[in-house]
């Protein structure tokens, strides 16, 4: 009853909860010799949602994903994908999923068209490859060899290959790692379209902005375990870090005076801006503007930073995500 009452306040979550799970992972263990890469990871991915595994490099995200798609044999736990047991029915799962791996490549001399046609032929169901070339803006590169493609084009081809079998469930391991901002934005659009098409997506990333932007729910992974799980809003709501006001001014203000502004609990000074931590951003801004006016200092820029997933990660682990 309590659960239902809680969910009524969050219609999106209520919708998610009612959806059947596309992926169910329970107590997953994966060791590499003496190294425990995954230590008891459990999560569900509901149909039609984008679920993200967020964590630093080496946290166990890739190992988890590779166990889910059958590239690695788990040392313990259970995995169910699209209603099939990952250990007992890997072929059924492979027919239904699409995946873009973190480190993958094709033969240098293969063309985009050849690669798509060949991979499409491996499946019982397949999408017309011309449609995929159009969808991923690769039509002009249909006859281009893999070695001549840019990083963004290679990544788009990897995503197109992941869709050749019209999969119910997509798994994307660090899909935008190493790409320039423009290519990253393009891929974000592609991933959003996948969700709009009704597909379920499980992705891993170490980019906080990417996780916040794309994912309906996120699991924060560190040292092989999930340390927090929920919607981005739920996770950020758990952060104890106060909001921050970041501003720059025409002259350097006296730091001692700024510390005494309304509700300020901390301050950081850098070369071109000052960051004030505050429990009441509104009061602090009013006080700050008055102070700057009094001191005849021109305010050049000001914005409020709410607590982010990075803050949640720091609070939970004591380190930054990209350390």
């Amino acid at each position: 009853m309590l659960e239902i009452a809680r969910l009524k306040h969050n219609p999106l979550q209520l919708k998610m909860k009612r959806m059947p799970s596309k992926v169910v992972v329970r107590d997953l263990l994966k060791n590499y010799g003496a190294v425990q890469a995954v230590r008891g990871v459990s999560f569900d991915v509901a149909e039609g949602e984008i679920f993200g595994l967020l964590g630093p490099n080496g946290a166990g995200k890739t190992s988890t994903l590779e166990c889910v798609i059958g590239l690695r044999k788990p040392d313990g736990g259970s995995i169910e994908v699209c209603g099939f047991d990952a250990l007992k029915q890997p072929r059924e799962i492979k027919e239904r999923i699409g995946a873009a791996l973190q480190y993958t490549a094709l033969q240098d001399k293969i063309t985009c068209l050849e690669a798509l046609r060949m991979f499409a032929s491996f499946y019982r169901n397949s999408v017309p490859v011309d449609k995929l070339l159009e969808q991923f803006s690769l039509a002009e590169k249909a006859h281009a060899r893999y070695e001549t493609l840019s990083g963004g084009q290679k990544q788009r081809l990897a995503l197109a290959l992941a869709l050749v079998n019209d999969p119910e469930f997509l798994l994307l391991d660090e899909p935008t790692a190493g790409l320039d901002p423009q290519s990253r934005r393009e891929l974000h659009d592609v991933i959003r379209r996948m969700k709009e098409d009704g597909r379920t997506v499980l992705l891993s990333t170490h980019y906080i902005e990417e996780a916040e932007l794309l994912c309906d729910r996120i699991a924060i992974v560190d040292k092989g375990t999930i340390i927090a799980q929920g919607t981005p809003r739920e996770l950020v709501a758990r952060a104890k870090a106060p909001p921050r006001i970041v501003f720059s001014a025409s002259k350097t203000a006296e730091p001692g005076a700024l510390r005494h502004l309304a509700a300020v609990s901390g301050m950081e000074v850098s070369n071109d801006h000052i960051t004030l931590s505050t429990s009441k951003p509104g009061d602090t801004i009013i006080d700050l503007v008055k102070f700057l006016e009094r001191e005849s200092i021109e305010l050049l820029d000001l914005h409020i930073q709410k607590p982010s997933l990075e803050d949640v990660f720091i609070e939970l682990t004591g380190r930054k995500l990209r350390d």
Binding site: R91, K94, L101, A105, E114, M118, F119, F122, Y123
Partner: protein, 279 residues
Amino acid sequence: MNGFLQHLLVNFRLNFRYVQAFVFGYFVPVFFLIAFKGLYASEPPLMKEFGQLLTVSTLGGACFGLPVTLVTERERGVWRRYQLAPIATAWFVASLMLARFAIILSSALLLLVVAMGFGMPLPVRPFELLVAYSVSAFAFLSLGLVIAMLASSAGAVQGMGQCLFLPMIILGGVGVKIEQLPQWGRHVAAFLPSHYAVRVMSECIVKKGAGLHSSNSEFDLIALIAIGLSCCLISVKLFRWESEQKSTLATKAWALLALAVWVAVGLLAEYWKFNLVGK
């Protein structure tokens, strides 16, 4: 089946997009042919040596061409992507072998044309030669696959390939004719599949040859098929999709099984004295 055919077609096409494929697949065998012509002044030219020539060109493609390509692709992460496809490993192995077979067969045909240009008559039993050549190529390509599964890098392929290639060239009746070897060398040759390949193909090429219908040739074919089948099955068992995939105890046990079949063939040959010249 469609997936298998597409993979086969792509593999075949890709081979012709690499310069080194032309160099090692066509120019090097022709170079060997010219060297053999100079080395053995037999009449009609090259006829007695043509079995050796076909064996050396097949061995090169099998011991180096196939495994180097496979291991290099694996090191680059190409095979990880294939592992996600709902296709049995055996189909990939079959497709790789067939594509490579088509390539080395085209090289063999080129050798035949060039040899005939030097005055060699058409082999006496061309269709039986095709069967003998195919069985020999199957055995060597299977050996190449095992090398690819055991080697962790392209450098390791070179090392392992040389360990097989050189003994077969020197003691396996390829570079040096069996009758020119000392007695101990002939015993060693019984354990080298190249010996059976040269012998069975020569029987289909020369005028006095018995073709495939002699007990020697039948034994040679069975020996090559046994070695080929064992290596082929074992390479399916050992198939490595990525470089990080370490050899396990089971892997080593399977590799030992391939070696055991090989040794068994040699022991059988020794037992029945099939390996002696003129028998």
